[in-house]
Symmetry: C2
Subunit: 100 residues, 2 copies
DNA sequence: TTTATATTTCCACAAAAGTAGAAATATCAG
DNA sequence: CTGATATTTCTACTTTTGTGGAAATATAAA
């Protein structure tokens, strides 16, 4: 994973509302959660929510699929896994010694 | 770890320059790296660098200590560990089933 | 077709972040 | 004290982000 991509993904998760959205999607699991459910849960205007979701989608952390009038959003677990791996590989100690 | 704190830390790491700084500090290890070394490595103006470092310090990801005229910066590994744990605990699947 | 529901796009504005030169501060050497 | 080095603070400016109302789009139901 490129450092630029990691930074982009973290920038998106680095916002309380978006992180809440993502966490809620994680709770919802792989089958996805309707945008409307997120809106009801987090209590934010649709336009604002739509904006945040589209940013998460843009960096690949969330995927969407429509069923009728309802848009389901689901977390892309693999992307988060990659990000965590990046942090572990590039930003942690690699010693055999003790910890902090 | 609070969601707000996690978001703040990720917002700081969510910037290519700051992430580069942090990664460089990780390479430098626990004894710390002079600000001047970071500047030479990343090739950015002092005032800009100082600004970015202070943000990393503000969220606890970096600590500093002065030795003479030189300010050493070191990563606070434990903070990153907490962040990674947050992501694993709050934003990953907790199933016994297969992966993505 | 008309109407209702779900969500986005458009628009405008306020707030925050990024950038960097210049001046200031801190510390040490001579 | 004077000068050199290391780094920050101040200041100003540009760009990006966040926010949400209103209008538009998509889909389905009546």
């Amino acid at each position: 994973m490129q450092i630029k991509d990691a930074a982009k993904q973290m920038a998106e998760l680095g916002h309380a509302t978006r992180l809440s959205i993502f966490r809620y999607l994680v709770k919802g699991g792989r089958q996805g959660v309707p945008v409307g459910d997120i809106q009801a849960e987090l209590n934010i205007p649709g336009s604002t929510l739509s904006h945040h979701i589209s940013r998460l989608v843009a960096v690949g952390l969330v995927i969407q699929c429509r069923k009728g009038r309802t848009l389901y959003c689901a977390p892309q677990y693999s992307k988060l896994d990659e990000l965590i791996d990046f942090l572990k590989d590039e930003c942690c100690i690699h010693e055999t010694a003790a910890e902090d």
